[in-house]
């Protein structure tokens, strides 16, 4: 209860925007995936913060779900990236088409 909600949300919001920035501007598929991961984790952080505010476990449980599902998403994503890399020998989304 030492950390106020606003601080946590500001941090989470900042992370989220860093994530968007990374996902939208980077010219490398791995970095795009990384950006999405940062966004998801920012959301998870916001959940933890909110759950702290209400003194509930629900939000923390969701944060765990987010971690698990983000992992699944990344595994599928990396498989596809490998598939693309084998064919094009590049990870630049602009060159892939």
């Amino acid at each position: 209860m030492n950390v106020p909600l606003t601080h946590l949300l500001t941090l989470a919001g900042g992370l989220f925007f860093i994530g968007i920035w990374c996902a939208v501007t980077r010219r490398n598929l791995i970095m795009v995936m990384l950006g999405i991961e940062i966004m998801l984790n920012a959301a998870a952080l916001a959940f933890v913060g909110a759950s702290l505010r209400w003194q509930q476990m629900e939000g923390q449980a969701v944060a765990l779900f987010v971690l698990a599902i983000a992992a699944a998403e990344v595994s599928v994503g990396l498989a596809l990236i490998i598939c693309i890399y084998r064919r094009y020998r590049t990870l630049d989304p602009a060159k892939v088409q």
Partner: protein
């Protein structure tokens, strides 16, 4: 959990059992036919489960899901669409290089995710359902992995879905921070109570949720890559994305926003109204410029989600019923339309360009007739389900008094005729001389069955919609 809880969950449990069975079967012995039979058996069992327990009074099973009539209706719709996709896929994957049994497994998993989404009552269930659906969809899209377009479509969808999930999640986290609960009804109650004075946290949260839903429904301006994904993905997957994932998201939209009184929430109303307006205009304009049939259908799906929002935004008693009717009619039509595309396609190359359809009426009059019926339904010509859907949407909108959206709907759907007619005209043009028609082997029985069923449904709903309207009326009470 009591027995009644398990009874209510019957369709989902049967579907999960089917998934386990298919998985085991693939592990023990690979056989395309056997997988198809198991898949269909599981889907039919789940459908029978829906029929058996569908009339029960609504029951909340754990805090996570509510099995009410709306949920059962959408589950039935999703299962039907999945079965149709599986049948359409039979011939498509038969000649695939490599193994294709997993396709059906993934299809079932995606269907399970969509069903959970349709019944979700709580944010956690919603998120799990959504991600089960999405992650299976990436793979379904990339399944034709010899075709780079297919893999690219999968990856694009993954990036898109990841970003939109993150938006949804963050929005929901903000709402949670404000409201203190993850159950949907508490949110809407809170939103209702707040009236015009919504706290900024809730407002930002709602805004980000709308962005997330907008991505999933491919509303303008969140529509980029939709056409690439539709075009790149294998035809059966495209049919699946256009129907199952759309109807699951519509179910969610209904759960989230249907109890909201839009007159008291101008901000939410205007946000959605502008999305609907932009989707109708931009979707139709972009479709006019396409030469690929799959891309035309992709952009037309954007426009159709705009029409659907018109029905949804009208408020009033008819709004929910009209929305449910619209998505049902749309699902039938799109399954038929992509069904024809699938039947004409092979794993190595989908029937996509206009020239693939040129002269279809003379080489395959029956297929051309079905496709024409589906296109006319999309255009909203009477005697088809699409017409009744559009009629219902306009009626609901007129009751809500949102005339500017209705006029947009009317004018854009008149413009949409132009590209639907282009396909129809191509089918009636003389065939190209040096062109071998795609399916030399003729239409498979399974594909023919799906197309027949969809055509019969299309005309039945179009000429005697009474029973369906009554059913939807009972569901949405």
């Amino acid at each position: 959990m009591q027995t009644a809880d398990f009874t209510a969950l019957t369709p989902l449990l049967l579907l999960a059992a089917a998934i386990a069975a298919v998985m085991l079967q693939i592990a023990l012995k690979r056989s395309h036919i056997l997988t198809i039979v198991l898949t269909l058996a599981g889907l039919i069992a789940a459908m029978l489960g829906v029929l058996a327990v569908g009339d029960m009074p609504a029951r909340q099973v754990t805090p996570l899901v509510t099995m009410d009539r709306l949920a059962f209706f959408f589950i039935g719709l999703i299962l039907t669409a999945t079965a149709a996709t599986a049948l359409l896929g039979c011939r498509y994957w038969e000649h695939a290089v490599g193994q294709c049994e997993e396709y059906y497994l993934l299809l079932l998993v995606a269907a399970l995710g969509a069903c959970v989404l349709a019944a979700a009552h709580h944010f956690a269930a919603f998120f799990i359902g959504l991600e089960i659906l999405s992650i299976s969809l990436f793979t379904l899209m990339a399944f034709a992995r010899r075709r780079m377009a297919s893999v690219e479509a999968g990856l694009k969808y993954l990036v898109l879905a990841g970003i939109s999930s993150a938006f949804l999640l963050f929005g929901i986290a903000l709402i949670y921070a404000d409201v203190g609960s993850l159950a949907f009804p508490i949110w809407t109650a809170r939103l209702q109570a707040a009236g015009e004075t919504v706290s900024p946290l809730l407002l930002i949260g709602m805004g980000m949720t709308v962005i997330g839903v907008g991505f999933k429904l491919a509303l303008v301006p969140f529509h980029m890559w939709t056409a690439d994904i539709y075009q790149g993905a294998p035809a059966p997957t495209t049919a699946f994305v256009a129907t199952v994932s759309k109807s699951a998201m519509v179910a969610l939209l209904l759960r989230l926003f249907a109890p909201v009184d839009f007159t008291a929430e101008p901000a939410l109303f205007w946000t959605l109204a502008i999305l609907a307006f932009a989707s109708m205009i931009v979707g139709n304009i972009l479709a006019l410029r396409q030469d690929s049939v799959k891309r035309i259908l992709a952009y037309s799906s954007i426009a159709h989600m705009g029409y659907l929002l018109v029905a949804f935004l009208s408020g009033g008693p008819a709004a929910i019923a009209a929305t449910v009717f619209y998505i049902t009619a749309y699902t039938i039509t799109v399954l038929g339309a992509f069904g024809v595309v699938t039947v004409l396609s092979r794993t190595d190359a989908d029937a996509d360009s206009m020239s693939d359809f040129q002269g279809l009426f003379f080489s395959h009059p029956w297929l051309a007739g079905v496709f024409m019926a589906m296109l006319l339904s999309l255009a909203g010509i009477p005697l088809t389900a699409g017409f009744i859907g559009k009629f219902y949407a306009i009626t609901a909108g007129a009751q809500g008094g949102i005339w500017w959206l209705i006029i947009t709907l009317v004018l854009t759907s008149a413009a949409s005729l132009f590209y639907y007619l282009r396909i129809v005209v191509a089918m009636f043009s003389p065939p190209l001389e040096n062109k071998t028609q795609p399916p030399a082997a003729g239409i498979s029985y399974s594909g023919g069955l799906v197309l027949t069923v969809m055509t019969v449904l299309l005309i039945w709903v179009g000429s005697a919609p009474g029973p369906l309207i009554d059913l939807i009326g009972r569901i949405t009470q």
